[in-house]
């Protein structure tokens, strides 16, 4: 791709239609990554403004002002106050919600004072018209000394005009909104001269937010702090006055530019919906129905594509192992890498469906109400209303769920949410649950209506959820913080979701999962494959001889012999040795070394349990669930002479899988999000201990 000619940043407050505009400008030509050093999604796309000029479009996180509180907001402040930043834009598009111009313009006046060339994209003109609002756009543009384009980002109206405008040279507005207090002018001048800055306001920001601007070097920071102290400048002292002054300017501006204000009751429908959706009883009822629907669809709709992916990869692996020549490299390819990739791809349907729903809820404005409804309850447990989405996402996969915690501005709330999310029963636990529940719970109905197996399955999900919120409660008292948490947020007007935005979100989240988690899953599954396929050479080499010798006596078919060889090899592999080594530790839980091997191999990803069990018990394929069930049922415990998988053992295993941290990719993501090994290691230790102790008690009580 040729080098883009200009850099354009999109900025504005949340819910102003920024992502719609971004998607319109760039189409599928988007790159989602991370800002260097921090874990904030960076959305960059390319847009052909005309035949010659290509623009790089940066979609910045939504903010109200340049005084940041969350990680997302800090990025924006940093980019706008650092001319050397690789993302510092040539031009800025400020997207303003025409129905709520006042709140959108605060940031604009700050950009004016930073002398950044800016254009205003006046969005939601359709809603403005509906509300009876009428704006004198010419006057607005003249008063701000800045071009203004009217757009409808949902329908794509006005995009052409915006592109044309961006092609033309844009100069920074000549206005100056904020008058810096006379008593601090001298100190501002020193900073401006020292750093050679182009505006007083930029220098003022260096003073106000010394610690937020990470691009400053240590000595530069010390220089600013010393100067500030010498001149008795205290950050934040003037911030309130600045905001009031800016709003004064905005009010005056709007008094002139708004010809006719919107009539009072244009939000009547939205308020009516609110009365239902935030109703004392009905509100929760509706929320739980919505949750139930999401839950159902994830399992019902995802099943078909998942089965398809599963069989396709199994077939591919099978074909490859037959067609490729023998040798360790080809074995690695057909039995290590291909199933490893399959293990990643299989989660895509569930993740896509989950994020389709979350995106619809967000687009429609309902998500803000969910946060509103749940905040009080969640706060009792040390979480906050914004923890609901990550916890819900945890049912599909903890990886995107933990990434979704970035919207929580309070560090303690966010940390607790990250810590407890892996307790939510993710889709990888489901195959383990299904087979064990089918094994130990009778397939009959309570009151002829509720299926016992279904009830137990639901109970396991509930158990995971309870573990999550009670762990959160414990952490609430353990972690100390002085940072205060806020819930000052806009409740946007309800709207129909824009379906293309939903589509873009699905693509974005799925990509993030495949490339973030996928790397780890693949690497670990290859390591585990090696552990499970290799062992001391003479033992592995003698596998065929020993099994064949037995086979003659037992009169086995060729297929059975192959299965037995596989089983023998697994038993004598390094993974098998590990399983045997941990047997004394897991015996109190009712597990033997065979289950031990399955625990070892499912450390990276829980769902591997089923495949390992199939191999250990010499069953050809993990697909054949009834056979696995039958084989497990017939397995005899050599010590007692009774069945190996008693209800006590089954329950103990189920509880272990519900609580244990057996997901390397989650640990990797937690490490990245918390910037260190401390939290992922604590999480691993805590969850595994809880799993061990709970399984221990369940087994001891039941047997």
């Amino acid at each position: 791709m040729e080098q883009p000619n200009i850099k354009i940043a999109l900025t504005g407050k949340p819910n102003s239609g920024k992502s719609s505009l971004f998607n319109h400008l760039t189409g599928l030509n988007q790159k989602i990554g991370n800002f260097p050093g921090v874990t904030v999604d960076k959305r960059i796309g390319f847009c052909q403004l005309d035949n010659n000029i290509q623009a790089e479009i940066i979609d910045l996180p939504g903010i109200y002002s340049l005084y940041p509180r969350t990680l997302d907001e800090k990025i924006v402040t940093e980019i706008f106050s650092d001319k050397n930043n690789s993302l510092y834009p040539d031009k800025v598009v400020l997207i303003a919600d025409a129905t709520n111009l006042k709140n959108c313009l605060l940031l604009l006046t700050q950009l004016i004072d930073l002398k950044i060339p800016t254009v205003i994209a006046l969005n939601m003109m359709d809603l403005a018209a509906k509300s009876g609002l009428s704006i004198d756009v010419k006057k607005l543009s003249a008063s701000l000394d800045m071009p203004v384009v009217m757009i409808n980002a949902r329908k794509g109206h006005g995009i052409y005009e915006l592109k044309q405008l961006l092609l033309s040279p844009i100069k920074a507005s000549s206005k100056s909104v904020f008058q810096i207090d006379a008593e601090i002018k001298p100190v501002v001048k020193i900073i401006r001269d020292y750093f050679n800055l182009s505006s007083d306001y930029e220098a003022y920001h260096f003073l106000q937010q010394t610690d937020n601007l990470v691009f400053l070097k240590e000595e530069q920071r010390n220089f600013i702090k010393t100067i500030a102290r010498e001149h008795e400048f205290f950050p934040h002292k003037y911030q309130g006055a600045e905001t009031v002054m800016r709003y004064g300017f905005i009010q005056q501006l709007l008094n002139g530019a708004i010809v006719k204000p919107s009539h009072r009751d244009w939000k009547r429908v939205s308020h009516g919906i609110d009365r239902v959706l935030t109703h004392r009883v009905g509100g929760y009822l509706i929320f739980f129905v919505v949750l139930f629907l999401i839950f159902q669809s994830i399992f019902a709709w995802a099943q078909i594509p998942m089965d398809f992916i599963d069989t396709s990869f199994a077939r591919l692996s099978n074909v490859l192992s037959h067609e490729l020549p023998e040798g360790p490299f080809f074995e690695l390819l057909s039995q290590g890498i291909v199933p490893g990739i399959g293990g990643i791809v299989i989660f895509i349907p569930q993740i896509a469906i989950l994020f389709a729903f979350i995106s619809i809820l967000e687009e429609s404005g309902y998500m803000a109400r969910v946060v509103f409804l749940m905040d009080k309850i969640m706060r009792k447990f040390g979480l906050n209303g914004k923890s609901v989405v990550p916890l819900m996402s945890g049912w599909a996969c903890a990886i995107p769920a933990i990434m979704a915690t970035r919207t929580i501005d309070n560090w303690k709330d966010r940390l607790i949410t990250i810590f407890v999310t892996p307790f939510m029963s993710c889709s990888a636990r489901l195959p383990v649950y299904t087979i064990l529940v089918a094994l130990i719970i009778p397939d009959s109905k309570l009151f002829g209506f509720f299926n016992y197996q279904g009830l137990v399955l639901m109970g396991l999900y509930l158990l995971g959820f309870l573990a999550a919120i009670f762990s959160a409660l414990a952490m609430k008292f353990i972690i100390k913080t002085t940072e205060r948490s806020f819930l000052i947020m806009e409740l946007p007007t309800y709207r129909m979701p824009k379906w293309s935005n939903v589509g873009y979100t699905i693509i974005e989240k799925t990509k993030a999962f495949v490339f973030e988690a996928g790397k780890v899953i693949l690497a670990i599954s290859i390591i585990l494959w090696v552990l499970a396929s290799y062992g001391p050479i003479e033992e592995m080499n003698s596998a065929k001889k020993i099994v064949r010798a037995e086979a003659v006596a037992l009169n086995l078919s060729e297929g059975e012999i192959q299965n037995r060889i596989a089983s023998y090899k697994l038993e004598h592999s390094y993974a098998g040795k590990l399983g045997k080594a941990i047997e004394p530790m897991i015996r109190p839980l009712g597990f033997d070394w065979k289950i031990g091997i399955a625990l070892v191999t499912s450390f990276a990803a829980r769902e591997v349990f089923v495949g390992t069990i199939a191999t250990i018990y010499s069953i050809g394929s993990a697909e054949d669930q009834p056979t696995i069930k039958q084989r497990l049922r017939n397995e005899i415990n050599a010590e007692t002479g009774g069945p190996r998988y008693t209800p006590a053992v089954g329950m103990s295993l189920l509880i272990f899988y519900t609580f244990a941290m057996q997901c390397m990719s989650t640990l990797a993501i937690v490490k990245r999000e918390t910037k260190g090994w401390k939290w992922p290691l604590l999480q691993l230790f805590y969850m595994t201990s809880l799993a061990y102790l709970s399984a221990f008690f369940v087994y001891q009580i039941m047997s």
């Binding site: 129905t99 309130g240 905001t243 709003y247 939000k267 509103f372 905040d375 819930l487 000052i488 946007p492």
Partner: protein, 74 residues
């Protein structure tokens, strides 16, 4: 003692007089809670907290802790 937003009733309107907490005040100012502006108490969440208010035609949510730092006149 001046009244604050946390003490308002659904449907009640008032004018914002000032803030009793500087830190929260800064954030509230940015969101458009300006002294002299009208504020309307719309409704509260099922357990009475948080609440939904309107300021210059925008619906916003506030926790009671936050609402109690906004003093009002009516």
């Amino acid at each position: 003692m001046a009244k604050n937003v946390a003490e308002m009733l659904p449907g009640e309107t008032a004018v914002i007089a000032g803030f009793t907490d500087d830190h929260i005040g800064l954030k509230l100012l940015e969101m458009g809670f300006l002294p002299g502006t009208a504020i309307r108490f719309n409704f509260s969440a099922p357990f009475g907290d948080p609440i939904c208010v309107s300021v210059s035609d925008v619906d916003l949510s506030l926790r009671l802790d936050e609402a109690s730092t906004i003093s009002i006149i009516n």
